[in-house]
């Protein structure tokens, strides 16, 4: 490899204006003017092809901007770059949607929350909030009283604004219509049985064929990131279970890991074992629900109930220890809420023995069914390049041939001690996305089986100070959620509540690629695509 020089030196070589900032995980600070050049170089010359996370930040005096967490999927190198614009009134950054397709939606989110204008972005509408929302809520100088409870219906806005750079360095606002006058546009959602929650697609049809698809998010936007800024660290934990409610364990694991990393706290082996086992049980739970919902979307109601029957067993085990079935509230800063139930080990072993033959049943009824294969094979193909570019991690990415498992890329918990396969398939179609998840259930069973007998003795909750304050700095940690990389970006100013807390949604990249993969598919295919992408809406909207 010729890129042996440390990444820091290479970035300084590309862009001398970039300054390394040590606090926390460390990141490069780049002035807004020179950011675009650095981004292009990082993308094309250095091969940082995966935008892990894009976080809008308000740094007060230093200005508004974004933090880009990048990864080179070839070498596994990571770098964080922050670009700030000091002009608070008219903050603008060059858009990088053409370098990383996943940036498209993330920039809309940053625009929505911080009012940063992304020059060159083709469709800079608000992503979550209403179009008539006043002000930008995650700015530190935002005035709550600007937006009283609004009882008016939201006007449908069919224009997409974009800011285009002019020759003199300024920019002008242009508007493009989303749909033509004569297009047959139907609403799928926000109340629709197949969107798995309040997600809304506006679909332009030609007969049954989808010509264009526009995703509307925000129907369950609760402003969790904003809420977190006024809460102490232990209080912020409560929100994670309500993001991706099928990945409650993993989400909370990610946030606890991030805070523990910032505190410099090493948790005991017992805690790490318990957390890992719980994560995997949660993954089985989520994947079983995935099979159930996919089959229901496709009209095979029998498999729906089979999925729920088996998921019940997992939930019973989780409930016995955590007391919760959907909202587990189990992980805590420095450990877990309670020690595992005395029957836990026995029940988990029984479940593993029960589950293995049941998977065969799914294959017999669902996987092997000719209609299932006809409908799933070859539909909704997401290429490997697109998967990386959109940042579509999890089962979706792995079905497209991208080995994107955080458990392998950045091992946490005790994943480095267990032996498991990362399921990677090549076709990127709906059938592979389904198969990846079914096979991952087996792998999760293997992981749990290896760990369940070896849970070491030790503390289940480390001693922490009653009031947790983090040092100044910023940290990012990620876990493999049930449906992709779930990341937490935490920025602290030394206070007892976070200065900025951003959750990298697992679902947002998945819905951002729907338009690409469902064009020229049929309505029925859209349902299958939505089912196999396996997004959870509260996780998208946060």
């Amino acid at each position: 490899m010729e890129n042996n020089t440390a990444i820091k030196d290479r970035i300084t070589a590309i862009e001398p204006a970039a300054v390394w900032s040590e606090a926390g995980d460390g990141l490069f600070k780049v002035p807004a003017a020179s950011f675009r050049h650095l981004a292009e170089q990082l993308r094309h010359a250095e091969g940082f092809d995966f935008l892990r996370s894009l976080t809008g930040v308000d740094e007060g005096e230093e200005g508004l901007g974004c933090i880009y967490h990048l990864e080179n999927t070839g070498t596994g190198e990571n770098v964080a770059v922050s670009a700030l614009d000091t002009d608070r009134e008219n903050a603008s950054l060059p858009s990088v949607h053409d370098l990383w397709k996943g940036a498209g939606f993330n920039e809309r989110e940053a625009y929505d929350f911080f009012g940063i204008k992304f020059i060159g972005h083709p469709d800079l509408r608000r992503l979550y909030l209403r179009d008539d929302w006043k002000g930008f809520p995650l700015r530190k100088d935002y005035d709550m009283s600007l937006n009283p409870l609004n009882m008016e219906n939201e006007e449908a806005n069919d224009d997409s604004p974009s800011y285009v750079m002019t020759k003199d360095g300024g920019y002008i606002l242009k508007r493009h219509p989303l749909f033509e006058d004569q297009e047959y546009v139907i609403n799928i959602g926000p109340q629709h049985p197949a969107t798995h929650g309040v997600l809304r697609f506006r679909v332009s049809l030609e007969g049954e064929i989808i010509k264009k698809l526009d995703v509307h998010c925000g129907y369950i936007h609760r402003g969790i990131e904003k809420l977190c800024e006024s809460m102490t660290y232990p209080q912020t934990l409560g929100f994670t279970d309500r993001l991706d409610y099928l990945g409650a364990m993993q989400n909370r694991h990610a946030l606890c890991m991030c805070i523990e990393k910032a505190m410099g706290l090493e948790v005991s082996d017992r805690i790490r074992y318990i957390r890992t086992i719980m994560d995997e049980l949660q993954r089985i739970d989520s994947h079983l629900l995935f099979i159930a919902c996919l089959s229901q979307d496709m009209g095979a109601l029998e498999v729906f109930f089979l999925g729920f029957r088996d998921r019940e067993k997992v939930l019973d085990i989780l409930e016995q220890t955590t007391g919760g079935r959907l909202i587990q509230a189990y992980n805590r800063i420095g450990g877990v809420q309670a020690d595992i139930h005395p029957d836990f080990v026995k029940k988990v072993k029984e479940f593993i023995k029960y589950m293995r033959p049941k998977l065969q049943e799914y294959h017999e009824i669902f996987t092997g069914n000719v209609i299932v294969q006809q409908r799933l094979e070859g539909t909704g193909v997401l290429s490997r390049e697109d998967a990386i570019s959109f940042g579509a991690t999890g089962g979706t990415g792995r079905a497209s041939g991208w080995a994107c498992d955080v458990r392998k890329r950045h091992p946490y918990g005790v994943y480095d001690k267990v032996d498991f396969k990362e399921i990677v398939l090549d076709n990127g179609d709906c059938f592979d996305r389904y198969m990846v998840r079914v096979k991952e259930i087996e792998e999760s069973l293997n992981i749990v089986e290896q760990l369940i007998d070896n849970i070491p003795e030790g503390e289940y909750l480390m001693k922490t100070k009653p009031i947790i304050k983090l040092p100044e700095g910023s940290w990012y940690s990620a876990v493999e959620g049930s449906r992709g990389e779930f990341g937490v970006y935490l920025e602290s100013r030394g206070d007892k509540s976070p200065y900025r807390l951003k959750f990298r949604s697992t679902g947002l990249p998945l819905v951002s690629c729907i338009d690409t993969i469902s064009r020229n598919a049929k309505i029925a295919d859209l349902i299958a695509i939505g089912g196999t992408l396996d997004y959870v809406v509260p996780d998208i909207d946060r």
Partner: protein, 358 residues
Amino acid sequence: MFDFGIWTSWIHSQLTALMPEGLAIFLECVAIGICLLLMYVVIAIIMIYMERKVCAAFQCRLGPTRVGPWGSIQVICDVFKMLTKEIITVRHSDKFLYNLAPYLVILASVMAFACIPVSRGLEILDFNVGVLFFMAASSIGVVGILLAGWSSNNKFSLIGAMRSGAQMISYELSIGLSILTIIVLTDTMQFSEIVMRQADGWFIFKGHIPAVIAFIIYLIAGNAEVNRGPFDLPEAESELTAGYHTEYSGMHFGLFYVAEFVNLFIVSSIAATIFLGGWMPLHIPGLDGFNAVMDYIPGFVWFFAKALFVVWLLMWIKWTFPRLRIDQILTLEWKYLVPIGLVNLLLMVVVVVFKLHF
């Protein structure tokens, strides 16, 4: 085999003794109409109850258990609930057609229902081109569905209606071809005659290979004809919310719902009549003792047993198989079922001409 014709002709003779013949026939028509509608409703209730129990059994559930023994009163309660619900009319819909559509669907269903020979002497519409009439009457339903989808001024409904139109008109062909295959074997189109000719063996046995192929084609096409899974695209609930009847409420929706279930029964009972001997008991030529024992079981028991068996088959398929896609449905029909049906018809002609059947 008991002939219910004895009763009906006795009633007729009693009535004509009392009043002029025209009035007697009029009264008989009214009575028969009421009986027909009552039976229609009872069958619908039985079918809905059966659907709930059968699908519960397939899905590791129990189904209704609370109202009445084994939940048997549940459906009746639901019918009353449906009757009391408000019928909502959508603004900007075509009011006349919107209100007409459910009645067209139920009309087609009742007319087709009247063709079914339940037992010997218990057939209402029975004439020499009964099969043709049945095909014609049952085809009216698609008009109602198209109107429902079009007049409710809802894009989902319209897509559902278009799917339904494409699907039902296509699959009518296969139904026709498979019934035609049996007509070649029987040389009659009268339902009562068709049943009578199966006294020495049901057609699925007498016609052997071509009859079995026709039976399978009929089951597939019949399933598609009544818009049930895996062919339930017109009302694919996960794609089009409820398809063509999205905008209907109360009893207007109830009519669609009831018609769907009775149509399932009609399709099954026609399958039972044409292929499985209708009310004719199982007769094996040569075993006279066995045949005599079989004759003790009344005809309508045979008929309902066979029809409900076919219903159960179709329910099993519905609750297990996922839904097809619109292009796959049309491919299945036009590229597979129709050519196979045509070849099968030819095969049956060969079988009949060379007397290869039993």
